[in-house]
Symmetry: C2
Subunit: 158 residues, 2 copies
DNA sequence: ATAATTGCAAATAGTTTGCACCTAC
DNA sequence: GTAGGTGCAAACTATTTGCAATTAT
């Protein structure tokens, strides 16, 4: 029943390992045991684990793995485009008095959040998909990029 | 130049205060100075402030406001539907080895995150709006609701 | 009056940093 | 051999909790 899914997953893991290999060579990064293990575990899982969850899973398998390393390796993966960080860059809660459905833009540079009022987005009749027993109550679109304020970055050029 | 915007904002603040009033009466909540002040400040701002930003802004204005209270009041606002929390419920970073564009479902109950593979979402040609000097690099849709696992909640009924 | 709410201080959770040792290339 | 990577302990930041004092109704 899960055989086909497993096959897909294994194929995905293999792809990721290859990509890792290539990226390391390209960027002059070391292929350490820790990085391999963390990547394999992250690629194998579909539940979007936290750093801590990965640590808890891997630590027993080879002693002396450090939580710190997991955090650092994940950061590296994100930097080189091998993985993505779900949820906002700065992990602090932000609040909005506007409870109507609308969307947000988050600046990757400064972390600021602004409302997105593109009329086209309101035309999209996003059909709360009832699929797979998920009871979808709401949705929101988060755009990410560079805000006007950060377009001309901290004047480094003379 | 900002006159019209200011008018709108003030109107919005007023609406919010009314809503607060109604909700308090309905739910038997106290209308404290702190709650009024935090609501007014949150409603006035459009930058989706963090609890700390609100605290820093309000604290000087009336001595003895506590950070704790700001956190608690915001939580209350969210609970009664007066405000929204941007970013995921549990504010920890989650990672995903799948770097292709796809979307997520987050369970409001248990905080689990799963991929959303609704084909209709891929049809939506979301036009990275260049509007207002925002350089939009990416976007993702986050659905929220109740996951299959949490549909029949922790058996409280006898 | 009395039940809800606040403030303080201390605890907790997630994440980062400094520095000495270790390892991949 | 050496630059880059790791582990440990300690620091930091965001948030929560216990409890006594205060305030809204």
């Amino acid at each position: 029943m899960n055989e086909r899914q497993d096959t897909h997953r294994n194929e995905f893991v293999r792809q990721k390992e290859q990509q890792f290999d290539a990226l390391c060579r390209m960027r002059g990064l070391s292929q350490t045991v820790q990085r391999r293990a963390i990547l394999a575990e992250l690629a194998r899982r579909t539940d979007h684990p936290t750093a801590d969850q990965l640590y808890e899973e891997l630590q027993p398998q080879f002693g002396g793995l450090s939580r710190t390393t997991v955090y650092r390796v994940l950061e590296t993966f994100v930097r080189i485009g091998l993985a993505r960080r779900i949820t906002s860059p700065e992990a602090k809660a932000r609040f909005d008095a506007d409870t109507s459905r609308h969307h947000h833009f988050i600046c990757l540079e400064c972390g600021s959040v602004s409302d997105v009022h593109d009329p086209r987005l309101n035309l999209i009749e996003l059909p709360p998909p009832q699929a797979g027993d998920f009871r979808i109550l709401d949705y929101s679109i988060t755009f990410s990029g560079i805000c006007p304020h950060c377009q001309t970055p901290p004047d480094d050029s003379p």
